[in-house]
Symmetry: C2
Subunit: 230 residues, 2 copies
């Protein structure tokens, strides 16, 4: 059993979502068989998208501070339930000896393993994730092509995410249901929930035939694979 370190708080509810998904994917029959985890819920980390748009303070020093705290707790693996923060992944990996499980790589691995071929893959993510090419750079190496949404859909995705972040869940759900039906109309047959706020909204949409890859869930599965069986 290995101890997992989670750089959290981006946002706190997304961190809690990852935590619950790890617990539920762990085949434990009693408390003691669960994975030891240190969660550094550090919501003061500055907004990732704002920084990538040139509008705010860099999250990097805060992310490094969190890694230093988790190192003191002797964690065996690191991860980060915030897709946009993965813009800094290469830099973070350089500063620590602890292996860092990437949410983007975990998602790509699952998509490749599925051996399904899709016509139109969409990425539900923040503007920051697009500006930083966080998924595009990793996915293109494996020949997986993401087809960007039009501006009005992307804006509506951002509105859903930030409405949720400011605690207005009912309103965020309403916005998300609306934009989701527009996405379906655009002919996407595969969607990546590539912002950790999105899976909190997913249970509210009607089941459709479209395949959805929940990056948070895929990160949870990878963490369980490495920490429980490791």
């Amino acid at each position: 059993m290995k101890r997992l370190g989670i750089i959290g708080g981006m946002g706190p509810e997304a961190t809690s979502d990852l935590f619950l998904k790890i617990i539920r994917h762990t085949p434990a029959k009693k408390d003691q068989e669960h994975i030891p985890i240190i969660i550094d819920n550090y919501p003061q980390i500055p907004d990732r998208t704002a920084f990538l748009k040139g509008l705010g303070e860099s999250p990097l020093p805060y992310l490094l501070e969190s890694i230093r705290r988790l190192e003191k707790c002797n964690v065996d693996y690191l991860c980060m339930p915030c897709n946009t923060a993965h813009y800094f992944l290469d830099e973070l990996r350089k500063t620590t000896k602890i292996p860092f499980i990437s949410i983007v790589e975990s998602t790509l691995e699952s998509l490749v393993k599925s051996k399904k071929s899709y016509n139109k893959i969409g990425l539900m993510a923040t503007d920051g994730t697009f500006i930083g090419k966080i998924y595009h750079r990793v996915f293109e190496k494996e020949g997986v092509n993401i087809v960007n949404f039009n501006t009005s859909i992307q804006q509506a995705i951002m509105d859903s995410i930030y409405t949720l972040k400011c605690g207005k869940k009912d309103e965020a759900v309403k916005l998300f249901i609306e934009v989701f039906s527009k996405i379906i109309d655009e002919g996407y047959d595969c969607l990546i929930a590539g912002c950790t706020e999105i899976p909190i909204l997913l249970p509210y949409i009607e089941k459709s035939s479209i395949d959805i890859y929940d990056a948070t869930e895929l990160l949870a599965l990878k963490a369980v694979e490495l920490c429980y069986r490791g």
Copy 2:
């Protein structure tokens, strides 16, 4: 804003429940306004009730280890979402300068503040919590009297808790619904959810006129009061 340290993993789902309740009671309008928290999810802490029954290893050294880890992370407050573990509270408080928020004291404070007078107060808790007189000792000082359940109800409460701990949630819910109706028949007009697994089962019972004090929720409110406003 103060940083909260959570000694967690007893069990992990109860820890996640406290975490979510803290998030939802925090009046934040964006990520950065949430409370910084370190969660030491350490499920390897030995079973509290087993120890209090003389059947297992002491959790105390593990609890101390967790406090040392949280001290390294410079937390300002400590708490522990496990009622039974509060058997060790006095000893834990002696070993650290960090103020320790008690789940039992938070519950008592809310009960006293309500200024309601009850005929029959019941405590839904583990055998360990009864053996250790964890609630009884604190409550009696304020003249609040707990009326113990009969043996068959107490056994059914224990079965619900441990069925949930071993991951069989549906079965635990069924057991809990059954025992809850028996408790109502016994004329209780106030119940304390004094085991952190119980609030996970509470959403599944039908609404009744009985007052229920969710100790996890009351701990969350106290933590928000001290850390957000502190």
